[in-house]
Amino acid sequence: MVGVILALVLMGQGGGLQAASPWGWYRVVINGSVQTVWGTPLPDGRIWYQPPTVKPEDPPAAKPAIEQAVEPAEPEINPLDFGVDVDRLGTDPVVETNDPMLGELLPELTQTPATATGSERLLPKIEPRITVEIGPYTVPALIVGAAILLASLRRRPT
């Protein structure tokens, strides 16, 4: 089932749901276990939710699961729920890297010097050089190649 799953929640307590209830975090019962999901109530009392949702922590004053499901509160999104702490993002443009070759990968960046501001981890200047990347076959191929060359040189007639 792609995208959307219907979660059946226990009904009959709390007097049903409002038809125009908003999307938000709901405690629902899925396969016998209580889970917190991002969803919206259907008129018949079930919660329409989109998996997966990440909010394992219970609210401080969490009501029992059934009441939470049938009496949704105003959606409340913790800034950390999905995983980016935007309050700790910078306000000035910053480029940070540990790659001394970034300038070669992205020469376009050196044409826009305004992207970097005072930090010792800024984009390094381009320093043209030849690099050899060692892959899984590089060393064996070098050894075999050298052996062939050596053998052919030894066999050279005098």
Binding site: G83, E96, T97, I148, R156
Partner: protein
Amino acid sequence: MGVILAALLLVNQTPDGRGEVALDAPKYQGQSASAPIPAAMHIRNEGGSNGAGLCVIASVLCNGRYQGVPALKDGKASELWRGAKSRPGGYYPGKLRELVEKTVPGETYASFEQRDPTILDTLSRKGLPIGATMSTGAMYNYRPIHHMISLVHYRTEGYACVVDNNDPGHFRWMPAAEFARRWVDGATGWAWIWTRRPGAAMAAGVAAWLLLATAAAIALGTTRRRRAVLWSA
């Protein structure tokens, strides 16, 4: 229920009011994603030790697997993921740097914080998947969120394609201008990449085999010359 689900699936295939559409394939309107991360490599978001999300880690793990970062080939069994699970969630550049340097030592990366989305176009044209902030989306009924996804395609005059770690297995296409609006969350947008070149390992392998072929050709030439000397003798 079946009718409702079928209708929803149908709606899912049609762009919504903001032009977003979720597809199973990394192709849309004649454009193919420049970093088409296979669905099998997508990583599902989870919570860290304090329950806060690991979308940043899920995104960079997914991207790193696609780029062939050796330390990430085991997915959620990698040191990066296990380290993240044992720590509080919710990431920013400095916190990610600390974890990456501890769990994926020696691997090169770059982090960009800015409001100008042209960096997304520049990185995407290199074939790099990008960990990019996204402040809302159809999945979230366009409510504000603080989220990172894998941006697998971005062309300023065309489309953007997103692999959302809250919905792995799908490719969410939208106009690039729409994604550019979502990218800036608060004061800035955040883009993060592994700088390992896509296909670098393969290129090194090809170079090694070329070297081998050259050595063989030289050896063959030497043998022929030797035979020629013998014949003339």
